[in-house]
Amino acid sequence: MALSAPGALQQMLDEIGVKDVAAVFEQIPADHFRKAPLDLPPALGSEMELKRDLVSKLRKNEDCETNLSFLGAGVWQHHVPAVVDEIVGRTEFATNVWGSYQSDHGRNQAWFEFSSQLGALLNLDVVQLPVYSWGCAIGHAIRMATRLTGRRKVLLPVLSDPERLSVIRTYCQPSEMESHIEVVPVAADPTSGRLSISDLKSKLGPDVAAVYFENPAYLGTIENGAAEIARLAREAGAETIVGVDPISLGVMMAPGDYGADIVTGPVQPLGVHMHCGGGVGGFIASRDEERYVREYNGFLVSIAPTAEPGQVGFGLAASHQNSYGSREHGKDWTGNSTYLWAIAGAVYMSLLGPQGFREVGTLILSRARYAARLLNEIPGVKAVWPETGFKEFVVNFDDTGKTVEAVNDALRARGIFGGKDISGEGHGLGQAALYCVTEVHSAADIRRLADAVKEICQ
């Protein structure tokens, strides 16, 4: 603080014409001032002490670089290119505030490039800057659908991530509220984990605002019937909302091509570290139709001509409809979000290009299938739906007589973080764990896992 220099504050007080600091707080009544004195830990005034405090504490963590981790389920260990880290860490971007097209043209262009590149992956023309998380993106998308259709029921797979589902439910409000949105689960085909089309048909009706499904889904399965689901929803007058993992889109069909109306997904796979869950963000996209655009809650960055012929600039489109512009009459709400990750995503996508997305998709898919196969070969261990997944898959340990917790404790002692324990999630899958394999897992890593599981389960 420049003004903490001796005398600097006094100089200002003199200019203002008051004798002490108390005078500038004159608006606060005397009996409002706090009585309890501040009782904070001692100041670490020097950077040296502060750094040591932070580093010594953080070193008590175990991380996924030292250990071999197979955790996913909403935040995944992917390779983050060093150039992404550099750009995101540039002080110009990292400490940027609000900006304007005049002063922060570069940042705005990077934002537009995020939406443009993601649009190319999705084959969709409108992409909003990311909201807080994928779950939040789904929540907003469902609320968009209810506004678009005037209906108040949403169908989604029973095999949903309880974490995202909890967020979705918060967006749909408790049933006591007048504006409540009903969340209705659709059954799964037990042989494939995919959405049951017959159950979907039985639940679709004139009261359904939207059908939501993920592709690949929470438990890793690929929804082959996506186009069919979208067709059925359309016939029922409902919006089709899809959740996709953008890192799959070099090998998986773009959701814009199978009839999705609103598309959501996580931003974290596009060049953001896991950050203990602090790397998440969620995107929302759609076709460029005014009825959709008018329902977005956040920042839509549009390219625009400038006063100089041939030159382009960037600014916020349809900004009056958000809560900054319309308070309680705005579309849901917005505020600080996760826009720095839009820049990470822009850099990441530009580094990969079409071929990079194809390669990384193939690599993840092939390695995940390899892992499922190796684990499946272990007596008592079963890969549920081993041939239907992308990067995640369910492993069942029932026949080993061990709980997932016991297996994971034993793995952890060997420097391996086993898959997420989903035994308690009520999916009826027994003692099961959700394993995640990405491009960072070499064949040797996967064999190390399989060998360890074998040893533990014998």
């Binding site: 005049q102 992956l121 990750w341």
Partner: protein, 505 residues
């Protein structure tokens, strides 16, 4: 730099990032035919060097915090590189939130300790960090109020949220999104709503009161204790939106004023960087009475071990996945530890003194006017001003002014949240970061543009002149035929334009 859009760069086959083929022993797998991608996504094909150079150019075309920015309502802070570097270490960046808590003791300890710091600053009993910003923390409050009233069986009756028309838009917006009816209290001459209006608004239908104080005009509502008393008398929950905490840190305690809950913006008051709009954190704190309704998990200490408490049956559910933007919490912890109690008190002193210095100097410029000029008391850490007189005299409004400021290497000012209560508003906030030289230079630019508005108004109207780009044609932003949120859309609409032009030619 005259930097093209990235989609225009490159050449077929250029690569910025390679991936190995699957190892020999791994069979190459394919997506089922029905779901296979057949087309090539239309992404740029550039080298790593070209991607780096392009985005470095864009970073250099971003003023950010490289100049002087007295951007009101956002509280400009120094964002410590020390804390930034610590959070980028693999010990935090490469950590998964589902790891066993035994492997997360370091980060849990920091969160727990920081919780204690915020408890002390606010008087609240428990904080959580799940909310992704101040607005999300307001939403947390609204969702918590639902859970609270549902638990009491009164949710059907308690349907209203009361706030001031000057409260940050996120309060009414999140309450409305949560299903509450919003009652906005108008401001009186003294700059805040009357007790009478409050009394008329509250009653058995009131679920909660959401209020910030001081407000963005820099006015402190001296009747706030009475407000809280009345609201609680009516059974309502009281939420203190502490967005403007910077000027009252160490001076006020939300709990002592009677509030049930409050929120702090860590990316603002607590020195975490803003990232151009997040990742951010709205730290939400409440009393023990409300704690059972908090979103899970809550970090707790059991003996010498830190744990994640997920067993919260009355919880409102989740506001977002996982525990929040953890690195930002660590940075805020670092800020609080670097400052200590004395530093925090001093920062608040400085920010209010500096703001009053700024007010004094701005007051010397003819053509601009402070909001509610009849209020003689010194403002808090920011002040709403009006360019009304100058606009009447010269036709130059606050948006024109903002356009011109960037030409002087200074961030355009923040005008005002909606609704604009004063004409042609602008809201500077001096804060504790800037030196007297910086503030003087900023005021010098304002004075100079005021002069330009009188002498060469066209120059101001057509600004910016020495920025990366000229004035943007704002008409496209509300025109569905012209807006283009992606390169795809732009190409399509430009092609349409070209066709239309050739058709009409």
């Amino acid at each position: 730099w005259d930097e093209p859009v990235v989609m225009e760069l490159g050449r077929p086959g250029a690569r910025g990032q390679l991936f190995p083929a699957p190892e020999q022993e791994i069979e190459v797998a394919e997506i089922p035919a029905a779901m296979q991608r057949k087309d090539r996504p239309e992404l740029p094909e550039i080298t790593e060097f070209e991607a780096q150079r392009h985005y470095l150019h864009l970073s250099q075309m971003t003023l950010g915090m490289m100049g002087i920015s007295l951007f009101g309502t956002c509280t400009m802070k120094y964002n410590s590189k020390t804390a930034e570097a610590a959070t980028l270490r693999p010990e935090l960046a490469e950590v998964h939130p589902y790891q066993h808590p035994d492997t997360l003791q370091g980060v849990l300890e920091i969160i727990h300790d920081f919780d204690g710091i915020l408890q002390n600053l606010s008087g609240m009993d428990q904080f959580v960090f799940q909310a992704g910003g101040g607005a999300d923390a307001a939403y947390t409050m609204a969702a918590l109020a639902r859970a609270y009233w549902a638990d009491r069986g009164e949710l059907g009756q308690r349907t209203e949220m009361v706030t001031s028309i000057q409260a940050h838009p996120c309060n009414p917006a999140t309450a409305a999104a949560a299903g509450f009816t919003v009652i906005n209290l108008p401001l009186e001459e003294n700059g805040y709503p009357s007790i009478e209006a409050l009394k008329a608004a509250i009653g058995p239908k009131t679920a909660l009161l959401m209020i910030n104080n001081p407000d963005d005009m820099g006015i402190y509502n001296p009747e706030i204790k009475e407000w809280v008393r009345l609201a609680k008398e009516a059974g309502a929950l009281c939420f203190y939106d502490h967005a403007n905490f910077n000027g009252v840190m160490s001076k006020l305690s939300a709990r002592e004023l009677g509030f049930d809950a409050c929120m702090f913006m860590l990316h603002k008051t607590f020195g975490a960087p803003k990232g151009g709009g997040g990742p951010a954190v709205g730290a939400f704190g409440c009393s023990d009475e409300l704690a059972p309704y908090l979103p899970a998990p809550v970090v707790v200490k059991q003996g010498d071990t830190y744990r994640l408490d997920n067993d919260r049956p009355k919880s409102l559910g989740k506001i977002r996945e996982f525990w929040g933007n953890v690195p930002q919490v660590v940075k805020a912890y670092a800020w609080a530890r670097a400052m200590g109690a004395e530093g925090i008190a001093m920062a608040s002193d400085i920010s209010v003194v500096a703001n009053n210095y700024m007010d004094k100097k701005l007051g010397e410029i003819a053509g601009i006017e402070i909001s509610n000029p009849h209020i003689r008391k010194r403002r808090m850490e920011m002040t709403r001003w009006s360019l009304g007189p100058l606009a009447q005299e010269t036709g130059i409004g606050t948006a024109d002014f903002a356009n011109r400021m960037a030409d002087y290497g200074i961030d355009p000012w923040w005008m005002s949240h909606e609704p604009w209560i004063v004409a042609e508003p602008f809201t500077p906030e001096a804060g504790e970061l800037w030196s007297k030289q910086d503030i003087d230079q900023w005021i010098g630019v304002v004075a100079r543009i005021v002069q330009e508005a009188r002498e060469t108004p066209e120059l101001v109207k057509s600004a910016p002149h020495n920025q990366a780009i000229a004035q943007v044609d704002g008409s496209v932003f509300e025109d569905p035929k012209a807006w283009a949120m992606t390169w795809r859309a732009w190409q399509r609409k430009r092609a349409g334009d070209a066709k239309a032009r050739s058709g009409s030619a």
